[in-house]
């Protein structure tokens, strides 16, 4: 398993850099991921998405469908792509420290 330094500490990550231990996540980790993708300073809109993803993941053990994410947070699909450069799965889930769904998705 690969290791990655995030906000001054080493964490287990997968091949794509996703955190392998979601419970070790903290806000500094989200900021560190964002900086790697060129986003410095997270806005309330970012946090709203990240918090929704984390809460959903902790309750259901999987990320929600993106449609639900947009409806519940009020952040549109196009806005999600503006906020998270690699999109909801590859950026937002990663920054929130939760894994992307697998399978035919």
């Amino acid at each position: 398993m690969a290791q990655m330094e995030l906000a001054g500490k080493m964490y287990e990550v997968d091949e794509k850099g996703f955190l392998q231990e979601p419970e070790k996540w903290n806000e500094s980790i989200a900021e560190a991921y964002a900086e790697m993708e060129g986003v410095v300073g997270l806005t309330e809109e970012h946090w709203k998405v990240i918090r929704y993803l984390r809460d959903y993941y902790l309750e259901f053990d999987i990320c929600p469908m993106v449609r639900k994410l947009t409806k519940r947070t009020g952040v549109s699909l196009s806005r999600l792509w503006e906020l998270f450069p690699q999109g909801p799965a590859n950026s937002a889930c990663k920054w929130a420290g939760v894994p992307k769904p697998t399978g035919c998705v």
């Binding site: 259901f60 999987i62 639900k68 409806k71 699909l77 399978g103 035919c104």
Partner: protein, 532 residues
Amino acid sequence: MGKTKVSDISRAGDEQLLELTSLDWMTLPCPSDQPLSIRPLPDEQRSQIEHSLDGISALGIPKPTSKGEEDGLVQSFLNGLRKLLSHDDNWTFWQPLVYSLESCVKCQTCSDACPIYLSSGKQEIYRPTYRGEVLRRIINKYIKKGGRISSKLKGEEIDLNWPTVARLAELAYRCTLCRRCAQWCPLGVDNALISREIRKLFSQELGIAPKELHDFGTIQQLSKGSSTGMTPVAFRDSIEFMEEEIEEITGRRIEIPIDKEGADILLLHNAGEFLSWPDNTEAFAIIFDALGISWTLSSDLAGYDSVNYGVWYDDVQLARIVLTHAEVANKLKVQKILIGECGHAHKTLLVIADRILTGELNIPRESALPLLEDAVCNGRIKLDPSRNDFPVTLHDPCNLVRLTGIVEPQRRIVRKICPQFREMEPHGVENYCCGGGSGFAIMSSRNFPDWKMTVSGRMKFKQVLDAFQDVGDPEAERYVCAPCSNCKGQLRDLLSYYQAREKHSVFYGGLAELIVNAMVDLEQPFIQWEWH
């Protein structure tokens, strides 16, 4: 480099049999013809992972660290190969495998039918017959009596060493199992089946399989409930959300029934729909409601996920999931299983499961497409085709069309409700694979995604562009209808990779969505382009 020979697969060391370069590849129409390259594996991976076939790693096979380990792996391979050739050990596919190994006359008709061979610029190692010939030579030399002498006399050179085994494992994952080669073969030889049986050998005997198909695929489906990682609780939450969406669109509360005992139909969707394409599930619910059908979904383990990745690589996992699906249907006391828009679930449950399900487990299993055809073409729901007045083409999922033979129902539907429908060329049973077949759409480790976008998906992407060539308005949304979740995933990634939405206004989606989009009862369009 001269023409690669079959015996080159045994070449010692790390040297690749093929250096992939876009200069060799089939040309794409402008402006998608810019040279694209495949990222080489990083040095760290090159030193640790087998990549000596073509520099791509689908499997991430660790390099053995000693000669002893290599020899052990080669021996396991040989043991597995003996099992493949034993009727008792391989009762599922022994007959077509042996027929295919014994009957090929190497006429190479299949090569010109293979989209990977053609797209790659006719690379020898991607010929459908290449891997079959490697396997045949190994069998002739190392398994048949007196093989070493007769192989030498016949000039069938091959060395069964670790590089041969490692390259063959990767090579089994350079074929999408589309079976276009088998369609063209004058003798009915199925080289795709040979690929699939090699995959099975590696999975069942050596524990080598793509983690997306095994660990996160069949293992997760049987332990957690779905290859997506979705648990029954999350499934119910997603369905509730879809009911909410349906109400917003139709103005009516339509129940999506779950675990309704005694319903006529158990509908099996690919669980990918629930996460990535919920409008497909919603469309089925709206249509079934309009038809007054008695149906249900299941929230049982694997009961809400039609996938069976075992069909691509492993008979044990295949059988376990088939049995689980049949047991779920029996528990709910339904009359039949109906399969939604998932190609390999059609292959598995309509065709292969006949070899596995007996007695009371042999519950009737049907495709949903004829039912949808009946609804549309016999006027059971009120439809207004002018609502679908945009260019539409149809992708034929290999497992649904060429393999299962369901060719016309989806065509009669789109001809009836899509005024600007146009066929791709070629189409129907002669279609080309999306390039994501046999699990490639979900395999995304290392540099494999680059290969499936540039090589295996190349022919389909060209077909899509060609199908819309005559559309004048550059802004007009074009819809590629693909009634299969795996194909949809691959098409989405292809359109994104080649920026086809931005450059060509090409979108994609399923079949049921087009039907609901044409329903006169709906006040607003069902298809929302930003989600396609």
